[in-house]
């Protein structure tokens, strides 16, 4: 734990004002990541502009661990588009393909989805009385993807202590390095 004692040593010899600057620096680094995310949300109109594919239900198109970039336009949904949606009451976004569309007179659409690698459509996944998806459930359409990069997120979710260790290390590094 030499790193920890060196860290405390460095922090103790800093003047209070310097420490304040380092803390604000750390805050700015963290918030800049947050604000980039918020900016993407504003631009893409999607509450989660980047998602990680969590299951293998869309193989061979997308594997577990791929990253998807989402865009929620105002155009009606069409068969064949890959959409990411959330079911009421569940937190996890699901990435599947649109296989049926009912377009009403006012332009709104009812949508049915199915994973490419699944045998049945998603009615079993929807909320108990729900037979169709609407725009309000859909987070966005997939408009681009990066393979494998999302594995980092999956690993950090499966092993939470890794996340805390990484954040702790970053914090120590920023607090003790001088401008």
């Amino acid at each position: 734990m030499n790193v920890m004692s060196e860290t405390f040593q460095a922090l103790r010899t800093m003047r209070k004002r310097q420490l304040a600057h380092q803390v604000i620096n750390l805050g700015l680094i963290i918030t800049s990541a947050l604000m980039i995310w918020k900016f993407l949300m504003v631009v893409t109109h999607s509450e989660s502009p980047v998602v990680v594919v969590l299951s293998g239900s869309m193989e061979p198109a997308f594997q577990r661990g791929d990253i998807l970039f989402l865009w929620l336009g105002s155009a009606p949904f069409r068969i064949g588009e890959i959409v990411v949606f959330k079911i009421e009451g569940r937190d996890i976004p699901i990435v599947h393909r649109v296989i049926k569309v009912h377009e009403k007179h006012d332009g709104t659409t009812d949508v049915l989805t199915k994973g490419d690698n699944n045998d049945v459509d998603d009615r079993g996944l929807y909320a108990p009385d729900q037979r169709w998806l609407n725009k309000k459930h859909i987070i966005g359409r997939a408009v681009g993807y990066l393979p494998y990069v999302g594995m980092v997120t999956i690993i950090m979710n499966d092993y939470p202590y890794l996340k805390y260790a990484l954040i702790g290390l970053l914090g120590i590094f920023v607090l003790t390095s001088r401008e």
Binding site: I24, G27, T31, L34, K38, V42, H45, S177
Partner: protein, 212 residues
């Protein structure tokens, strides 16, 4: 190279207590660790000016801290408004997010511009010397901007002193290059007292120039 050879000054305003304190807190760097070395040197420069009766002008530091804190506050608002446990859900919060992101970006950008173009290499902005200072007459009402540079793997530490009068005009500049080998032993031990003596000599030279 070898050990810097010099007689340590006798109680130069530091007193017996400080000397024994210095013995306990000998500062040492890994040779080649330019960042920490510059840190030690900069701290010693600031301390020298303080000992010579120049207080530190915290104005720019306060401005930077407030801008940084304000930017962080906007980020927190964007994330947690109106209630940390029940933030506004996305489609409704878009206008709020837009405002917060733009304000954050402006503050961040302004902060970066200040640091890159206004502050540059400065490590200290002083106030005019107070009455107890030996420079009370020679540098009366003048402030000093101290900038330093230490390139990677170089042994030359450049100190630039800019003297500004009451209206902010630069009336004098003084540059000096100090060799690290005069103050650091091969094993990295820092002889802060030798260094601070030389910095005081620099300030005296600066004051002497003014009265010519």
């Amino acid at each position: 190279m070898g050990k810097p050879t010099r007689q340590p000054a006798e109680g130069k305003g530091k007193g017996k207590g400080k000397e024994s304190e210095n013995e306990e807190m000998v500062k040492s760097v890994y040779p080649g660790d330019t960042a920490t070395t510059k840190g030690f040197l900069d701290d010693a420069v600031v301390q020298s000016f303080e000992d010579a009766g120049f207080g530190e002008d915290h104005f720019l530091s306060n401005v930077k801290l407030s801008m940084g804190a304000l930017a962080c506050i906007f980020a927190l608002i964007a994330q947690f408004w109106p209630n940390p446990f029940k933030p506004m859900p996305f489609p409704e919060s878009r206008p709020l997010l837009l405002v917060c992101t733009v304000l954050y970006a402006l503050l961040s950008f302004a902060l970066q511009m200040i640091m890159t173009f206004y502050e540059q290499d400065a490590i200290l902005y002083t106030l005019p010397p107070n009455e107890t200072s030996p420079f009370w007459n020679s540098l009366q009402k003048k402030r000093v901007k101290v900038s330093t540079r230490l390139p990677r793997f170089s042994i030359n530490y450049t100190v630039t002193l800019e003297v500004k009068d009451g209206s902010g005009q630069v009336v004098d500049t003084h540059k000096a290059v100090l060799k690290l080998t005069d103050y650091f032993e091969e094993n990295g031990t820092f002889h802060e007292d030798f260094f601070m003596e030389d910095i005081e000599a620099l300030i005296s030279a600066l004051a002497a120039k003014k009265t010519q």
